[in-house]
């Protein structure tokens, strides 16, 4: 009996310590793509502000938008900005708006496996759209061969691989194809999951790379961070200025800087096919979704404090994790926008 009582005391004491520690806990949910970045940020920020715990669940962009609209989490996160209907749904439910805050940048890269080809291939927007529409079916098609003159491409059928599940990666890819191809825009459109005209679906980045590795003469797309981490070779893509660019953090930041000049006040901007000679064209911001009003003032101040830190000191963690930093102009604009949170 004494033993049990003693154990109970210990448990109670532990609970008390934990309780005291989690003075303020903020929950968020959403995009999986920036999850490694966010979990690093929340961890580092917690070390500096031990009174604040931010709990983030990477359930996917769509889930993040849904949950923050429902009000079950304090903030959301998404790889594709909310559309006007979704903004309206939030406004109608809560009576105030939701704000987008770009945090870091990522990119999609085309990766391929062609028998007998080791070279770094060049892709034009027309070629990528044609391949994914199922109109360009052979690797030696002039649309591909004409920009890869020194590579001997086989007369083999192209096997297209795309993401099976809904994902921000697919959103960026289809957003890009919609911009560079009218036919893609009309037939398929942009979204986390679309009705793919051709191809096999692989589950996750690893499913896509696995299928490509297993299937000769295939092409697909993965996140830059994933390709870098797993040393997967990828091709160059022709940007809006007509230059073939290999994806890199610098090229992604350049795309953001190119778009920064015309950054709208709500930060909902697509930077695929961005202007600028150094810009990598299949790049995108990823956003935090923060409600404009908080009923709890301590929560509000904690989130504002975190945002300011993430935009300043937090940016220095990005490149180690293969995310591109925000351009200075965008940071300056966002710092001003933080004041909108009340």
């Amino acid at each position: 009996m004494k033993k049990i009582a003693g154990m109970l005391l210990v448990v109670l004491a532990l609970a008390g310590v934990l309780w005291a520690d989690s003075a303020l806990s903020i929950t968020g949910a959403g995009a999986t793509f920036p999850y490694p970045m966010y979990s690093k940020w929340f961890d580092e920020y917690h070390k500096k502000n031990t009174g604040l715990l931010i709990n983030y669940q990477s359930i996917g962009s769509g889930g993040g938008i849904k949950q923050v609209t429902e009000g079950t989490v304090d903030f959301g996160a998404t790889d594709g900005p909310m559309n006007d209907d979704q903004l309206k749904a939030f406004q109608d439910k809560h009576g105030f708006a939701i704000l987008h805050f770009p945090t870091v940048l990522g990119a999609d890269v085309p990766t391929y496996n062609i028998t007998g080809v080791d070279a770094n291939l060049n892709f034009t927007p027309e070629a990528l759209a044609g391949i994914f529409l199922g109109k360009i079916t052979k690797w030696n098609d002039p649309a591909i061969a004409s920009v890869n003159k020194d590579v001997k491409l086989p007369a083999e059928d192209i096997v297209v691989v795309h993401r099976a599940e809904s994902s921000g990666t697919s959103y960026i890819w289809t957003d890009y194809l919609s911009k560079v191809s009218e036919e893609w825009k009309g037939k398929v459109g942009k979204g986390a999951a679309v009705n793919w005209p051709v191809g096999l679906g692989g589950k996750g980045n690893e499913g896509v790379t696995g299928t490509i590795k297993n299937t000769p003469n295939s092409i697909g797309y993965v996140e830059l961070i994933y390709a870098e981490a797993n040393k997967i070779p990828y091709g160059n893509v022709k940007n809006a200025a007509g230059i073939f660019v290999k994806a890199s953090l610098a090229a992604v930041s350049a795309a953001a800087a190119g778009a920064a000049k015309e950054m709208p006040d709500d930060f909902r901007v697509s930077i695929t096919n961005a202007p600028g000679k150094a810009s990598y064209p299949i790049s995108s911001f990823t956003w935090l979704l923060i409600p404009e009003k908080f009923s709890d003032a301590t929560k509000r101040d904690a989130i504002k404090g975190f945002l300011k830190w993430a935009l300043a000191d937090g940016q220095s963690y990005a490149e180690n994790l293969s995310y591109a930093k925000l351009p200075k102009e965008v940071v300056a604009k966002e710092v001003k926008a933080i004041n909108k949170i009340q």
Partner: protein
């Protein structure tokens, strides 16, 4: 399973002869009430499930009606949802898997129960139970790393070479597809069939075998003509279990089926199954019509399982012979 009912004497008449109060005092009635509540919860959960799926799919049911089952476009951007390719993929992969797993599984069960020495049988049973407990994602990985390359490099070209005149084995060999999914599913359900069938065969009374042998039957004749028919219901039970698992399997299927909503007569073609598309798209589905269409797919899967089970049961009733001890 069913065999126990023939050996345990029924408690009904004895219990009925005492008054309700005395049974209550002795705890019989309490046990009856509590256990019947537990039994009722199964029905309740089923009804609740159907109700929720029905309620959750109002929009697509009104918008598409019966066309949901007939059309094959699945387009979240333009809000067009048709379930046919998913239904097709689910049925085809389950059928392929049973075609492979049933003969193999029952054959193995007969060997283990009737022909193998008891020690070998028990040792193998341990491995079979182990296989049945392996998580499906492991089978999916097995499919990705071993089955798919084998299929693409050897099996599909060989099938194409020998049976290419059949529409079943035409088209490019991607490695992924209906056939691969069916094979991986077969590997997953075989342990269920073996394990349950073996138990059922072992529980066939000894005098059945002895009677057959004493009439001059060979060992195989007594097994195949007496023991197996005697245990038929239990063996069918194991097939139902396998069918249910094959229809509902998600992770392993999505890793090897190709995830393309296509209807093709070729087993080489990539396809999609209901469970796989729900798992892939539900978390990120935006918009009510999209989400509810996925829920309606869940309802379709539920009905499909229900119908296939019903058809299978009818088949048993139609084929079962008089005199089969458990039929």
């Amino acid at each position: 399973m069913a065999t126990t009912t023939s050996t345990v004497p029924s408690a009904g008449p004895v219990a009925g002869s005492r008054s309700f109060l005395s049974r209550l005092r002795e705890g019989d009635e309490i046990a009856r009430i509590i256990t019947s509540l537990f039994a009722a919860s199964v029905v309740l959960i089923t009804l609740l499930l159907v109700f929720e799926l029905w309620q959750g799919s109002v929009l697509p049911r009104h918008k598409f009606g019966f066309n949901f089952f007939r059309t094959s476009v699945w387009d979240p951007i333009f809000d067009q949802f048709g379930a046919l390719p998913f239904i097709y993929g689910t049925v085809v992969t389950a059928a392929v898997s049973l075609l492979i797993a049933v003969p193999l599984g029952i054959g193995a069960a007969i060997f283990l129960a009737e022909l193998a020495p008891a020690r070998v049988s028990d040792a193998l049973e341990f491995f079979i139970d182990l296989l049945a407990a392996v998580p499906s994602v492991i089978y999916g990985l097995l499919g990705v790393f071993i089955v798919i390359p084998l299929m693409r490099q050897y099996i599909q070209p060989a099938l194409k070479h020998s049976f290419g005149f059949l529409p079943l084995f035409q088209g490019p060999a991607y490695g992924v597809g209906f056939l691969t999914a069916g094979i991986v599913l077969a590997i997953m359900v075989i342990p269920y069939i073996i394990s349950v069938s073996r138990e059922v065969l072992l529980s066939v009374p000894r005098d059945q075998r002895e009677a057959a042998l004493s009439l001059g039957a060979t060992r195989w004749e007594s097994t195949w003509k007496v023991v197996v028919p005697f245990a038929r219901t239990g063996i069918f039970g194991s097939i139902f279990l396998a069918l249910a698992r094959a229809l509902g399997e998600t992770m392993a299927v999505t890793m090897v089926i190709g995830n393309t909503p296509v209807i093709s007569t070729s087993l080489f073609s990539p396809g999609y199954s209901i469970a796989a598309v729900i798992a892939n798209e539900f978390t990120e589905a935006t918009g009510d019509l999209y989400t509810q269409s996925l829920i309606e797919l869940g309802l379709v899967l539920f009905l499909l399982t229900f119908i296939l089970n019903g058809v299978a049961r009818l088949l048993i009733v139609a084929t079962s012979q008089r005199g089969s001890g458990l039929g």
